[in-house]
Subunit: 196 residues, 2 copies
């Protein structure tokens, strides 16, 4: 029976799902051809059609992470300080899906820090993310919701805060359930606005 | 020539140095018997005397990281808010040594998140670190240097902030040189004290 384009795409989706499940369970440190093949219930031979070498599998996994992060639904942004808060909440592991994605991001840092090109990519990614936060800080300042001060510096602080909160929540979900994460973010924003 | 105890200890120190250098350059993802052997200019056969299996090497590396973190010299602590600031500064990658150590900590998160027992250990480590910060927050509150508020909650926020700043600085040392890190921490503490 001839393979159709639909078969091919369905198979690619299966591969993506298998790679994702391996990453959620074992991180990049556990991302091997054998683990993905086992997850797919396929032979490692079949996997080499998709990924001739381990580094192709890692590159694919990094792309998949990027795509899924970009396409993760985000709540409507609001305006001013509310938009800043929504953007920061959108980073936190408040849902199962966001937890999986964050767990894989944190895991990818080891891979990224070991590779100068990838480190530069990540630095660029975080810089763009800070720029977006900076624009929101500026809008909140213009609306009189945040006091004056270098908006880029405020954005860098806010990004540091949520990234560290992600790490804490991943290691200790009992101590950092979604409500606690939201409270801590509120504390942070209250201190920024001077209403803490 | 019989081997002496001194030989043995010198060799252990060499092994530790080699493991450390591999971790700084390649992270836990690049920690292999072969890489450590190459760094030592020894055979992988010799390495198996020290580490019968890969997991022994990883366990050794995690111990080494813990020991070197504990024994890293920390500036005198001061009192109240100054002690809190010193403790937070002591976490940041402000020196080459602290950068190496932080780079390895961040890298170890992938390994730790993939192993439930190790994840629990890490959660416990961070909880103890928050408890120490909480005591310093309390002392600063008693000295009237910080406003009222749940000291454990303030400590959790401060820990999140510095951990995220560590990650930012590792990926983008140009955007986050030591002076910038110190400024951002000052901003954070100023916002806490209400003097921002």
């Amino acid at each position: 029976m001839p393979r159709t384009k639909g078969d091919h795409e369905a198979r690619r989706r299966d591969v993506s799902e298998a790679v994702w499940r391996v990453l959620v369970a074992h991180g990049f440190g556990g991302l091997t051809m054998r683990a993905v093949a086992a997850e797919l219930d396929a032979s490692t031979g079949l996997l080499t059609h998709y990924f001739p070498a381990k580094r192709d599998l890692v590159a694919y996994a990094l792309d998949l992470l990027e795509q899924r992060t970009v396409s993760r639904p985000r709540p409507a942004a609001g305006e001013g300080l509310a938009a800043l808060k929504t953007a920061l909440m959108g980073i936190l592991p408040l849902t199962g899906e966001a937890t999986d994605s964050n767990r894989i991001w944190v895991s990818s840092w080891d891979t990224a820090l070991a590779d100068p090109g990838l480190s530069d990519d990540y630095a660029g990614k975080y810089a763009r993310s800070r720029d977006k936060l900076r624009d929101k800080v500026e809008a909140a300042q213009e609306a009189g919701e945040l006091p004056d001060g270098d908006p880029a510096r405020i954005a860098a602080g806010a990004q540091a805060f949520v990234l560290g909160l992600v790490v804490q929540a991943l290691f200790d979900p009992e101590a950092f359930p979604p409500r606690r994460q939201a409270e801590l973010l509120d504390d942070y924003l209250d201190a920024l606005t001077g209403t803490g």
